[in-house]
Amino acid sequence: MSDQEFITARDVTFAYEPDEGCEPHNVLDGVNIAIRRGEFVALLGHNGSGKSTMAKMFNAMLLPTGGKVFVEGMDTVDEAILYEIRRRVGLVLQNPDNQLVASVVEEDVAFGPENLGVPPQEIRERVDEALKAVGMYDFRLSAPYKLSGGQKQRIAIAGIIAMQPECIVLDEPTAMLDPRGRTEVLDTIHRLNEEKGITIVLITHYMDEAVQAGRVIVMDGGHVLLSGEPREVFSQVELLKKHQLDVPQATELTYRLQGMGFPMPCTLTTEECVEAIAAYLPPLPAASRT
């Protein structure tokens, strides 16, 4: 294990308790994942691919039935260091409403550090800092039910940041949000990754969210299917399609154009796609441009 590796999952298998008369079914079936410190990883996969189960392995909410998960070299099976692991690896869940404990924003953010037994004065500082980090400081005295979904999700993230974690795992944090809320949340986690160096594992099924990550891991049927930089992963359109996975719309369009005999590079974003297509169009006459 190298120094760089923050979370290591080695040959992880997992099966939920089978229903009576059913064969146990492995949700995870020999997963190997290594996440480096400071990385921004997107974990992709469709429903039932095991990605959410994997997320709960990272902070010992679930323990592997086979194989091992290490966080900073600590085995997640070890109950004595359970809270050490959970403090280092925070988990943000899908539904923002169901994660907030207190009826005042700042008291909710304080919940984590309070559990850790941090002295009151320091909790105050951590809460203020966490709220500023997610841009919700002005709402510190609001009631959560008065906030929008995106704001609530940012409060949930602040609640994790107040524990001063080294890694935040987000399990489809934008699935229940409107487009504006999605942007708010994504901007926040990108900023946390860049400015505070917090390792981010973003579990999602939105391709455009995955494109912005530093690395993409695609899971399918309890296995890791692909892993690499977004461009590397999404250029394998055929393989992804074979596993009923989508690719970003821009990639899809250039892929089809390639199939129609236009040699062009694989694109990930709308801008890239526009550029690639524009190269084939005759330049517009100057007059019609305005």
Partner: protein
């Protein structure tokens, strides 16, 4: 809006009463209420009424809020005081048929009216000036000695906190489910009592199911944030009683002492 009502009656403010330590406030108001029932003569009763009026004016909460809380119990007050009129000794003041109103009955009626109204007003002072969170916080700390008897003080306070947090969320959800059922043709307004009660079932069942799902999610989120009960837990906000609270306590204790003294030296008027 239905949501605004349920969030408790807290009226934010910065008055003297608002700034008292919630623990002190709870204890003092409780003491006050006990002494309302200790008072046996009009002098002490008057003293207590004045104290209630003073604390109301110190709370800085508009009078209409207090009037509203009295309006809710007006019927009970009238009913009990009228009943009390006919109960009690002393000389007969009025005779209607076989019923007699005696002087003791009149003082009984006055006492019961003043007691109930003061009781309601005092608890209103408490809930108007204390946010639900500080209220649960204070209750947790006041109940701490009960730990000796293995009362799960922290858990009770945590449950209260969560319940308060989810009241608006569940109300919103009820609203949504009701609309959804109405959109499917559910009729909730017509029919007798039994029919209406039955019409509630399609609302209660989804609400119940979703509450369990929420509970499961919340439990997981709490565990993710290292929740492991009250042990080794600290609090961001530390309550500390200051000079203000000391003064308030002294004043209340003096009033209570005056009530006791007047009970000893003045004749009781209740029968």
């Amino acid at each position: 809006m239905i949501r605004d009502i349920a969030l408790g009656q807290y009226i934010p403010g910065d008055s003297l009463v608002h700034r008292l330590d919630p623990r002190v406030k709870i204890v003092l108001i409780f003491l006050f209420i006990v002494f309302l029932f200790v008072a046996q003569n009009f002098v002490s009763l008057l003293l207590l009424v004045i104290s209630v009026v003073v604390s109301i004016s110190l709370s800085g909460v508009p009078l209409r809020h207090y009037l509203k809380s009295i309006k809710a119990i007006l019927f009970i007050v009238l009913f009990t005081s009228v009943l009390n009129l006919f109960y009690g000794g002393g000389e007969t003041l009025l005779k209607i048929g076989f019923m007699e109103i005696k002087s003791g009955g009149v003082s009984n009626a006055v006492f019961i009216t003043v007691r109930i109204i003061s009781l309601i007003l005092l608890s209103a002072v408490l809930t108007f000036t204390t946010s639900p969170t500080s209220l649960t916080d204070a209750i947790e700390r006041l109940m701490k000695p009960l730990k000796v008897f293995h009362v799960k003080v922290h858990e009770i306070a945590m449950m209260m906190t969560i319940a308060l947090r989810f009241v608006p969320t569940l109300l919103e959800e009820t609203d949504k489910i009701m609309s959804a059922q109405k959109a499917r043709g559910a009729d909730m307004e017509s029919g007798g009592f039994a029919q209406r009660a039955r019409a509630l079932l399609p609302i209660l069942i989804p609400l119940f199911v979703s509450s369990f799902r929420r509970a499961y999610d919340l439990a997981m989120a709490m565990e993710c944030r290292c929740y492991h009960g009250g042990e080794g837990r600290t609090k961001m906000k530390v309550l500390h009683a200051g000079a203000r609270d000391a003064v308030a306590s002294v004043v209340v204790v003096l009033i209570c002492a005056a009530v006791v003294v007047s009970n000893i030296f003045l004749p009781g008027v209740l029968s």
